[in-house]
């Protein structure tokens, strides 16, 4: 989850996500048009977004297309939307912790 917040804590990266939200599945070249920075810098931002699972790469022939993946953001919202069911959520969190601790 740290990776997601770190990735989102930058205006340029949010702009890239916005661009994909409007038009999903763009190449690096297409995405460069949205930002006034070098292709290399845009590539670095995209790599960070990919590491956070916010951007997914799909190869189409020799073209590398970038897709917005909102699943991690949804998981963050679930975390706090459920806040008011504290008791039940605590039980679930404990269960998850117990299950994942097993070797």
């Amino acid at each position: 989850m740290d990776a997601v917040f770190k990735a989102l804590a930058d205006a340029s990266r949010r702009k890239l996500l916005d661009a994909l939200h409007i038009n999903n599945g763009q190449t690096l070249g297409e995405l460069c048009k949205h930002l006034t920075m070098t292709r290399q810098a845009v590539g670095k931002h995209l790599a960070l977004l990919e590491a956070a699972n916010l951007v997914v790469i799909v190869w189409q022939g020799r073209e590398k297309l970038h897709y917005l993946n909102p699943t991690p953001i949804h998981e963050i919202s679930e975390r706090w939307i459920g806040k008011y069911e504290r008791h039940r959520l605590q039980a679930l969190a404990d269960l998850k912790k117990r299950l994942e601790e097993k070797p």
Partner: protein, 149 residues
Amino acid sequence: MSTPSKFVYVTYIRTTPAKLWQALKEPEFTRQYFFSTWQDCEWKVGAAWKIVTPDGGVADSGEVLEIEPERRLVLKWRSEHRPEAHAEGYSRMTYDIEQEGNDVKFTVTHEIDVPESKLIKGVSGGWPMILSSLKSLLETGEALDVTKD
């Protein structure tokens, strides 16, 4: 630019490909994370496939195009309950399952050769909820409330 409509969603789940595969097919699992629905299908290439709602209606229908247990499933998919989406015809939905360390990388790709597709726009909101709930179900034994009804 007129392009086909497509989305690719990925989630990492602390489970095994076998457990995920079972959760994707079996009604007792899908009823928990897929808005109380179940799938009527024989799970072989060419078999008819449909999503059945709790009242017995059919939400979506299609056919199995590819099936590779615990690895990949490709469905021909048409909406049956939204006229605008139904009119667009068949889309293509793919599940890809890959083991990555202790996690399973689960990818859902849904695409249709229609620009600005109503079907893709409609399902693109539902899939993140379904994926989060499926992840929760497999990791904790409980699905999320949001997908139970």
